[in-house]
Amino acid sequence: MFAPGTQVRVKNDWPELRGPCHIRTPHYVRGETGVVVRHLGDFPNPEDLAFARPAAVRPLYHVRFDPKPFWPEGAAPDELVIEIFDHWLEAA
């Protein structure tokens, strides 16, 4: 579990390259560093639910990112907050 304020990195993983999958982690934050805002709750892993497999219940967090490094050319938002599951995060 990650406490609010913890710096985390989204895993730079691309299951799409390995076969059929259903991922709720947007491409644009893979490998990026953010800060845990809060634990939202625990939910069955959608990556298994989508294929009707038994789904482990996983913590879900709101994670805050500074989006400017992603899109330096646009008028990026000042902050971006995204729901990300525990198994996609590692301490940064």
């Binding site: 879900l60 899109w71 990026a76 995204i82 990300i84």
Partner: protein, 194 residues
């Protein structure tokens, strides 16, 4: 067997309904109840919640703590639906909601998503150039106001609690609810009088 992609949607729907009941997942009454609840969702429901939050500090606190409970307190059916989170606009922060992956939307309180919410253009630009996007809606944020984009990617559904417009002092909750629009609770527009 014909190609499923070429089968008329009403026949597909009938097949799914028949399978749900034949396999015992749901009764026809359950399906009718879900349709009734889904059709009951509309921006007017969210507007009632916003108007009450503007006039009742205890309700506002509940809404920010637990949107699902706040919706249920207004007799909006939430059973079996994803949890509702409420994002508060303040003097310092404006919230904008998008689902870049698909079209996650708080249907119980806002109804069916507007067509543009599901468009690739909105989903891309809301994270990449949200100030430009807001500008096309005629929404200009004050200098120095932080713009927070909330990408609704998983099990929560999000709505915005906008700021109460000046000039509405003394208004009843009913009068206030009448000026709150769908876009105000997504964050593309701001509530305005008239």
């Amino acid at each position: 067997m014909s190609n499923i992609l070429e089968t008329p949607s009403d026949r597909l729907l009938e097949a799914v309904r028949s399978l749900l009941t034949a396999k015992g997942h749901m009764t026809t009454e359950d399906i009718a109840e879900r349709i009734r609840i889904t059709d009951g969702g509309s921006p007017a429901q969210g507007a009632r919640m916003v108007a009450r939050a503007w006039t009742d500090p205890d309700y506002k606190a509940l809404m920010l703590r637990d949107g699902t409970m706040a919706a249920e307190a207004m007799a909006i059916p939430m059973r079996g639906l994803p949890p509702l989170g409420v994002l508060e606009d303040t003097d310092e922060v404006h919230n904008l909601v998008v689902c870049t992956l698909c079209s996650c939307y708080p249907r119980a309180v806002l109804g069916y998503p507007p067509f543009w919410f599901k468009s690739a253009a909105y989903r891309a630009r809301a994270v990449r150039d949200p100030r430009g996007l807001l500008g096309e809606w005629g929404t200009v944020l004050p200098d120095g106001m932080k713009l927070r984009v909330v990408d609704s990617t998983a099990d929560y559904r999000w709505m915005v609690l906008p700021r109460r417009p000046t000039g509405t002092e003394g208004w009843s909750a009913e009068q206030l609810a009448a000026i709150v629009r769908e876009g105000d609770m997504i964050g593309v527009t701001l509530p305005a009088i008239g």
